[in-house]
């Protein structure tokens, strides 16, 4: 093979790779784009469509956004605030409780009957394997008896339960890697055990805590099944608000798309921050000349 044909072959395969990536990008991105343009359409631009390019084949309007800012404002803001409260609040509780438990599992030997550290971790993590429908049918009855159905406290409890296995799992490994000598030094300085954890260990575990927080936030924000079964008026989240708005013969796609765009902002922020964390950790790992 001459150098020229080799060069041509390499350009060819590079082009093929770029084409494949572009194809995948189109598949991944188009539905999001479709939602974006739908949020700026008139009903007739939807039902006589499909129209693809704003200004070219349809005139964008702010109709949906005016409706959200006007008549639907209270409903949407109510759902938005609930969603934010549940996601941010339960993620915080789950990370704090998860960090303490992870610290315990990393530092102390446990023995409850036949259950030791690994068994306890497995018990906690196995909750994530259980399909939520199994717990939720009973949870519905239990919440109703405890008058927690459709309350903010109830939903904070439910989402903390949802996230705690994840934070314990993620943070145990993290805690193991924090050198125990630092705590011993703090103990010599007269710190109690609790102060050692709070003032020495947790600050060191900050990157792990942040990652666990973002993931928990993301999962609660995107939850649908818990909110669908356990709320109906006071504690409804944004997904339930959207569901109620769509419960009609012909759903108002422009409105749903607009609220959908709002609902996508927090998880996008969370995941792009998370991506930074992953990248930074990868960059610190030994990897040739990079």
């Amino acid at each position: 093979m001459t150098a020229a044909t080799q060069e041509r072959g390499r350009t060819g395969s590079r082009l093929a790779r770029a084409a494949l990536l572009a194809l995948w990008g189109l598949f991944a991105g188009f539905p999001v784009y479709w939602m974006l343009v739908t949020a700026f359409k008139q009903p007739r631009d939807i039902y006589q469509g499909p129209f693809f390019v704003p200004f070219l084949d349809f005139t964008p309007t702010l109709r949906a956004w005016e409706y959200i800012a006007g008549p639907a404002r209270e409903t949407v803001v109510h759902g938005l605030l609930n969603s934010l409260l549940f996601a941010a609040g339960s993620a915080f509780i789950a990370v704090v409780l998860g960090a303490f438990a992870a610290y315990g599992l990393a530092r102390y030997p446990y023995k409850y009957g036949p259950y030791r550290n690994d068994d306890l971790s497995l018990l906690i993590v196995s909750q994530r394997i259980m399909p939520p429908i199994v717990a939720v049918i009973a949870l519905f009855a239990m919440f109703r008896a405890a008058q927690l159905l459709d309350t903010r406290v109830g939903m904070l409890i439910a989402y903390t339960w949802f996230n705690l296995p994840l934070t314990v799992f993620l943070l145990t490994d993290f805690m193991r890697r924090i050198p125990v000598e630092l705590e011993q030094a703090a103990a010599l300085d007269g710190y109690g055990k609790f102060a050692q954890i709070w003032k020495v260990v947790l600050p060191l575990a900050m990157p792990g805590l942040a990652a666990a927080y973002l993931l928990s936030f993301f999962f609660s924000w995107n939850d649908f099944i818990l909110a669908l079964m356990l709320t109906f008026r006071d504690a409804v989240t944004l997904p339930i608000v959207i569901t109620n708005l769509s419960a009609q013969m012909e759903p108002r796609w422009w409105l749903i798309s607009a609220i959908g765009l709002i609902a996508m902002v927090p998880p996008i922020v969370a995941v792009s921050l998370l991506d930074r964390f992953i990248e930074r950790r990868v960059l610190h790992a030994p990897r040739g000349e990079e």
Binding site: L20, W24, A28, V134, W161, F224, M264, A285
Partner: protein
């Protein structure tokens, strides 16, 4: 501070008992009863389970769920691996592309359902327009059993391939470079390099991605709920969806509970089988490495012997 150790682990264990174990037992008890909302409690033994076996809607939902897991995980794994390899080969500037690829995963599942409902619409959906342009005539995606099933699989693939991509890409980034450079110097083809080096070294990440994805796939609910509502005629229904309709919409808590217990037992059995298999696989690998090491040391001794 002797109690501290117990205090630390108490909250997760409390949550485990109160919101996982107690409801689980409660659900098992429910599943043995004919209890429905507003009705009386009565024991029916295993009647609910017997009834499930001959309930066509449930058996359909059950097999659908298994098929979604099997087909979905298979298709999504290979697609995600392909995309991860391609992105990993890019010299630099892959961050915007990566974020674009992650968009579907970031979208709340309920919105995913709505968007794809408009995508599939036979009158004003862009997919139908595309097919019309190709001369294929109006496709009623969601009205025919097999097509509707495929549609859900397409949406599931769109939504979850990014998740597997994320794990596999992170795995690829941590692989050492030397074996690949050595193989390239030896003149190995890309195909050989993939099967001899990349794939085996990526195995832990692959297993993690497949297990995590499979566990989530068993819970499939929201997208089906919105795109097809389980129809036509149960062709796209899943166990969770069926359980939700039975227990909370129709109020047959006992019968719905039995459905969810069958799902739980299935997931647990498969998870156990996977763990046992993985342990055996890991054992075989260690034994093989030991054998190779022994063979090497024998050879080494023979060669260095005077």
């Amino acid at each position: 501070m002797k109690g501290l150790k117990h205090l630390l682990i108490a909250p997760p264990l409390l949550f485990f008992f109160a919101i996982s174990l107690v409801p689980l037992i409660f659900t098992i008890v429910l599943s043995l009863s004919g209890y429905s909302i507003g009705g009386d409690f009565s024991w029916v033994g295993v009647d609910n389970y017997v009834r499930l076996a001959s309930d066509p809607m449930f058996t359909k939902s059950y097999w659908n769920t298994l098929l979604y897991v099997l087909l979905g995980v298979f298709v999504q794994y290979w697609l995600a691996l392909g995309v991860a390899l391609l992105v990993n080969q890019m010299a630099s500037g892959s961050r915007p592309l990566r974020l674009l690829f992650l968009l579907p995963f970031v979208m709340p599942p309920l919105i995913v359902g709505f968007v794809w409902q408009t995508m599939f619409d036979s009158r004003y959906g862009p997919l139908s327009a595309l097919l019309r342009g190709l001369g294929v005539g109006p496709v009623l995606w969601l009205n025919e059993a097999k097509l509707a099933f495929t549609s859900i699989l397409i949406v599931d693939t769109w939504q979850w391939t990014p998740f597997m991509f994320l794990i596999l890409f992170a795995g690829l980034r941590t692989l050492p470079r030397e074996p690949f450079e050595a193989a390239r110097v030896d003149g190995a083809s890309d195909w050989r390099i993939f099967w001899d080096h990349t794939f085996p070294m990526l195995l832990p990440a692959s297993i993690a991605a497949i297990l995590l994805r499979a566990i989530e796939a068993f819970k499939l609910f929201d997208v089906v709920f919105y795109v097809t509502g389980g129809g036509p005629g149960g062709a796209t229904s899943t166990v969770t969806l069926q359980g939700y309709f039975t227990a909370l919409r129709s109020g047959n808590l006992g019968y719905g509970a039995a459905m969810s217990i069958v799902l739980l037992v299935t997931v647990m059995a498969l998870a156990m089988a996977a763990l046992v298999w993985l342990k055996r696989l890991a054992g075989r690998r260690t034994r093989r490495m030991e054998r190779e090491l022994q063979a090497f040391s024998v050879e080494f001794r023979e060669r260095t012997a005077p």
